[in-house]
Every structure is written in structure tokens, then in C-alpha cells.
């Protein structure tokens, strides 16, 4: 049992070590990386199955009982995040074969990529706040390396801004964890839920809650802490951007959800308003920023911010339906966003640039790629019957239930503006003729490269379609997750008394 919960980060770390030894050989490295991702996927499916049938599963590392040792725990939220990040990892590893050049592989691309996945998975399974900090750092240092790997001028420029602002978030997180320990004497998240309720110091608790919002808010890129994201996400190779876009900010959101459902549940009256305001402004500023951009990846980067607003919105509304909306939105968004970035990479390969005024004619040159873009983009904009529609529906319904009509209006306006940006990309990159007159077709690529580029895209697009056409089991799962988050009794029991090993 305890080994199964350690595998989601043990496998990527092992893979990273092997990939480091084999870094001189590009194909061997790719094979190792894909095998590792596939193994991680199998493990995460096993964990999801266990959690669905048996409730939250906990494991005490080194047999130190909670709250003294480090606890690993998978509840429904952790399990689904593990699964979705394993899928994203596998897709990006496949795409990376053709997107990452030999030089970057020699510098250790696959090693850092696997370490990033280890950091992400570790953050999802840990039940200890300080351990969460450590996994955040693993993820952070790997993302630093991936961002500047190759050392082009533009990468260094974007990288320095990313590094500078994320280090601030790290320090805030460390300080707030230290102060929380001073207040309660524990760092086990389940124990914190109990201990913090007994602390009679509302000023200190409120201050800590706000520092946590700032620390995780920088990672999650919420308003007004998101400026590192549009400065850096368009500089590395697109495979790196895709995995960043899919996973990094979502780990920040996951940490926010965990903190404000498990650790600070009683403080919500005060922090809820901050989160709500931040969510609405994040949605609007993100989507307006995207409207001003004319570069494929910059538009998508600003949309990441706008989507983060929706995720935080569900947390701020804090009803079972709203939290279920957040969980469903997260699944939908990770898949659609990663897919859009992968498609933008292939579009650049065919048309020659990311600048929308320098490209065109993609619809005529490769209808298949256009179809995939259409599915992902219009799902993001919330078109029925694609996955984004159900995700937005849950959140809009939740806001209407609380008669928060202003929130509903902002969510719908954001949806409309998202559609504006997506149709801008569609009109500029896909419909209008190529300014140089000719756009390469998919068939000009070698069979192997076509497969490496289209297989992950089609896999992610089919997940979007499945989420869209058969949303019921997934919404059911999301509602179950929301129930666990709002009533963490099973979670507490699994950590503090379960002692299964």
C-alpha cells in the first residue's frame, strides 16, 4: 500500500536518473522518458481505482505515525490530478521527440522534464505542508532549467523574470509555513485542520491566510501576481510551454484548494472575498490581455491566466457545486490548454512563425490539424457540447444558486471574450491565405514526425470530446471530490488513525 502512493514521484525520479545517464543518445532518451510516463500513468490509474472504491488512502513514510512523520495521501482530488498530469506527461513526452532538438536532449531535457513531473506528482500526494514546499522546489528548479535550457537570448530574458518572481513566492511560502508551525506546532495538513481550529488568535490566522494566498497566488498566476507568466511562457520550445501551461499553475491552484478547504476552513468569510475579487479580476485581465496580443503563444498564455480565474472562482464560491465545477474545469482546462500549445507548435512548424500576421492558410494546408484546433479552442471558449461548456455551466449554476449575478455576468463576458481571441487565431492562422503564399502541409513531414506530433494531439482531443459528450461520470466524480473537500472526515481518519501499511 505505502509503496503505491510513493510510486507517482518515485517513477519519474528513477526515470530522470536513467535519462541523465543516457542523455547523449536522443532516441534512447525518448524511449526511457515515454516508458517512465507510461508507468506513471498505470500507477495513477491504479490509485484512482483504489480511491474511488475505498475512499482516501494514506501511507506513513518510514512508519512514523502521523502527525510526526511525513504522510502521503491520495483522496479524489489528488488522484484525479495525478491521473491528468500523467496523461499530460505522456503526451508531451511523445511530442518532445520531434520538438526538442538534439542539443537540448544532450543538455538533459528528459531528465529535467521527469523531475518536473516528480515535483508535480509529489505535490499532489503529500499530506505534509513542509513536504509540499520541498516538492514545489523540486518542480521549480526543474522548471527553471527547462525554461532556459538551450540558452537563447530570448529564453534568458524570459527566464530571469520567471526566476525572480517565483523565488519571491518560495520565500513567502516558507515564511508562512514557519509561522503556521509556530502557531500550531504541527505541519501535517490533517492535524493542522484540527489544531488550527483550537488556536484562539484570529489576527494571526487571518494574516497567515493572506500570506498563503499571496504565496500560492504567485504560483497559480492570479491577479495581480501573474506578470511572470506572459513574460516567460512563450520563450522555451513549445513542448516545454505545453507542460508548463498544463501543470505548473494548476499545482498552485491545487495548493490553494487544499489550504482553503482543509487548513483554513473556518476563516472563509474573510478570505473568500479576497479570493472572489482576485478570481473576477484574473478572469477579466487575462482575457483582455489576450485580446491585445498578436502572437499565437502569447494569446494562449494570457488565456491560462483567465482560466485560473475560473478555477479560483469555484473555490471562492465554496459550495459543493462550485467546488465540483472547479475540479471539472481543472480536468477540462489542463487537457484543452496543453493541446492548444501542442497544436500551436505544429502550426509554427508548418507555417513558419508564431506571429499571426506572418502565418495563414493552415486550414487549407492541413484540415486535420484545424479540426483538432477547433475542438480544443471552442472547448476552451465553452461551446456546447464540448467539455468547457459543462465546466462553465457548473460554475455559472453555482453562482446563480448563490444569487451572485455580478459573478455570473463576469464569467459570461469572459467566455465571450475568450471566443473573440479563439476566433482571431482561427481567422488569422487558419482561414486567411498565407502572406508568403504557401503553407506546408502535414504530408510534407516524415511519417514518424507526423505520428509524433498528431498522436498526442488526437489523444488529448479525444479526451475533450469524451468529457463533452459523456460528462455525467466525470461530474459525478467531481461532486464526490467536492463532498470530500467540504467534509474532510474520511481524509482526517485516513491520515490520523488509518495507519495502513
Amino acid at each position: 500500500m505505502s509503496w503505491l502512493l510513493a510510486l507517482p514521484f518515485f517513477i519519474p525520479i528513477t526515470t530522470a536518473l536513467i535519462a541523465f545517464l543516457a542523455r547523449g543518445r536522443k532516441h534512447l532518451c525518448s524511449v526511457i522518458s515515454i516508458t517512465g510516463c507510461f508507468a506513471a500513468l498505470c500507477v495513477s490509474i491504479a490509485i484512482v481505482t483504489l480511491v474511488v472504491s475505498g475512499g482516501p488512502q494514506a501511507a506513513q513514510m518510514g512508519d512514523w505515525q502521523a502527525p510526526y512523520g511525513i504522510t502521503l495521501i491520495a483522496d479524489r482530488l489528488s488522484a484525479v490530478m495525478l491521473l491528468i498530469s500523467a496523461i499530460v506527461g505522456l503526451c508531451v513526452a511523445l511530442f518532445a521527440i520531434s520538438d526538442i532538438n538534439e542539443n537540448r536532449v544532450k543538455l538533459g531535457f528528459h531528465c529535467f522534464f521527469q523531475l518536473l513531473l516528480a515535483g508535480v506528482s509529489g505535490s499532489f500526494v503529500t499530506g505534509d505542508l513542509f513536504n509540499l514546499y520541498v516538492w514545489f522546489e523540486v518542480m521549480l528548479i526543474a522548471s527553471f532549467a527547462l525554461l532556459v535550457l538551450g540558452g537563447e537570448k530570448i529564453q534568458l530574458d524570459g527566464g530571469i523574470k520567471y526566476v525572480a518572481l517565483n523565488l519571491v513566492s518560495t520565500l513567502l511560502m516558507l515564511t508562512s509555513i514557519g509561522l503556521l508551525y509556530g502557531l500550531t506546532g504541527t505541519l501535517n495538513m490533517a492535524q493542522l485542520h484540527i489544531s488550527l481550529a483550537e488556536v484562539d488568535n484570529p489576527v494571526a490566522i487571518s494574516t497567515l491566510a493572506v500570506i498563503f494566498i499571496c504565496a500560492f497566488g504567485i504560483k497559480a498566476a492570479i491577479f495581480p501576481l501573474f506578470f511572470w507568466l506572459p513574460a516567460s511562457y512563450h520563450v522555451p520550445p513549445v513542448a516545454v510551454t505545453a507542460v508548463f501551461a498544463g501543470l505548473l499553475t494548476k499545482v498552485g491552484v491545487y495548493a490553494l484548494i487544499r489550504t482553503f478547504t482543509l487548513i483554513f476552513p473556518n476563516d472563509l468569510g474573510f478570505t473568500q472575498n479576497i479570493l472572489l475579487g482576485a478570481a473576477l479580476l484574473t478572469m477579466l485581465t487575462g482575457v483582455l490581455g489576450a485580446a491585445a496580443q498578436y502572437e499565437f503563444r502569447k494569446i494562449l498564455s494570457f488565456h491560462i491566466i483567465s482560466q485560473i480565474g475560473f478555477l479560483i472562482l469555484g473555490l471562492a464560491l465554496n459550495s459543493p457545486l462550485a467546488l465540483a465545477g472547479t475540479v471539472f474545469y481543472m480536468i477540462h482546462n489542463i487537457v484543452a490548454k496543453t493541446n492548444l500549445f501542442l497544436i500551436s507548435g505544429t502550426a509554427q512548424r508548418l507555417a513558419g512563425s508564431y506571429e499571426l500576421n506572418e502565418i495563414g492558410g493552415l486550414y487549407k494546408a492541413s484540415p486535420l490539424l484545424s479540426t483538432f484546433f477547433f475542438i480544443a479552442a471552442f472547448s476552451l471558449a465553452g461551446f456546447p457540447p464540448l467539455s468547457g461548456f459543462w465546466a462553465k455551466l457548473l460554475l455559472v449554476k453555482a453562482s446563480l444558486d448563490q444569487t451572485a449575478y455580478f459573478v455570473t455576468a463576469v464569467a459570461l463576458i469572459t467566455g465571450a471574450l475568450t471566443l473573440f481571441s479563439m476566433s482571431k487565431i482561427w481567422a488569422e492562422a487558419f482561414w486567411k491565405p498565407h502572406p508568403q503564399g504557401h503553407c506546408k502541409s502535414l504530408y510534407s513531414l516524415s511519417v514518424a514526425e507526423r505520428l509524433q506530433r498528431l498522436l498526442p494531439v488526437s489523444l488529448l482531443a479525444s479526451i475533450t470530446l469524451i468529457l463533452g459528450f459523456m460528462p455525467e461520470p466525470f461530474i459525478e466524480y467531481a461532486l464526490g471530490t467536492a463532498g470530500e473537500l467540504l467534509h474532510p472526515d474520511d481524509y482526517l481518519e485516513a491520515v490520523l488513525t488509518g495507519s495502513s501499511h
Binding site: I141, G151, L156, K161, L167, Y181
Partner: protein, 124 residues
């Protein structure tokens, strides 16, 4: 002892923030170093400062016989120092490389990733 040390943390953070407000990247990094030390010191104080003995359990016993100091914050700080050292060393190396490639440490002049005048549609 907590009071004076809390003041030290405050001074470290104030100095760090002042340095980070400079445009020069190296000043920014020095500010981060100071604040990272302040964070470690804050954890140390949060673990309560006592004059108790080191947390050693005599042979054959299961629990310490006298009042001992809390070893956990120190373990946390040790981890944080190692991680912080790695991150700051990376940041320093990155800044050195940025200076070599871009020829400046003034963040206002680093406009390659975000050009002041991005390419627009011709009609605009």
C-alpha cells in the same frame, strides 16, 4: 530572546525589500538572499527559543528524561537552507549568463521577450 530576534528579522526583510526595489538584478538577488535568511530565522523563532538541553535520549530509554529543545524547526531550517542555497546559486549563475548574453543587468532594458512595440497587424 524572541523580541530582539523578531526585530532582526524585520530589519533583514526591510533591507531585502529595499534592495529588491532596485532595477539592478544583482541588488535584487542580494535582497532575496537577505529575505531568505530572514525566513529561516523566523522559523527558528517560531520553534520557541529555550535554554533546554539538546534532544538526546539516553541509551535504554524511550523518551527524554529532562526538558529538551525542539529539534524540528532546526531540521526544517536545514532543509530550507540547502534548497535556498541551490536556488540562489542557480539564480546567480543565470544572472551571470544574462549579463554575458544581453550585456546589461538593468531589467528595464531587457525587452527581448516582451518587445516595447510588438508586431501588429498592418491595419492597426
Amino acid at each position: 530572546m524572541e523580541g530582539p530576534l523578531a526585530v532582526v528579522v524585520g530589519i533583514l526583510i526591510a533591507t531585502g525589500v529595499y534592495l529588491m526595489l532596485a532595477r539592478d538584478l544583482l541588488h535584487y538577488l542580494f535582497g532575496l538572499v537577505l529575505i531568505s535568511n530572514a525566513a529561516n530565522l523566523a522559523i527558528f523563532i517560531a520553534g520557541r527559543l529555550t535554554r533546554a538541553s539538546p534532544p538526546l535520549i539516553p541509551e535504554g530509554q524511550e523518551a527524554p528524561q529532562i526538558v529538551v529543545a525542539n529539534p524540528l524547526p532546526q531540521a526544517l531550517i536545514l532543509t530550507a537552507i540547502v534548497i535556498g542555497f541551490g536556488l540562489l546559486a542557480f539564480a546567480l549563475a543565470l544572472i551571470a549568463q544574462v549579463y554575458r548574453e544581453l550585456g546589461t543587468l538593468d531589467v528595464d532594458r531587457m525587452r527581448i521577450a516582451e518587445p516595447v512595440r510588438p508586431k501588429r497587424k498592418k491595419s492597426l
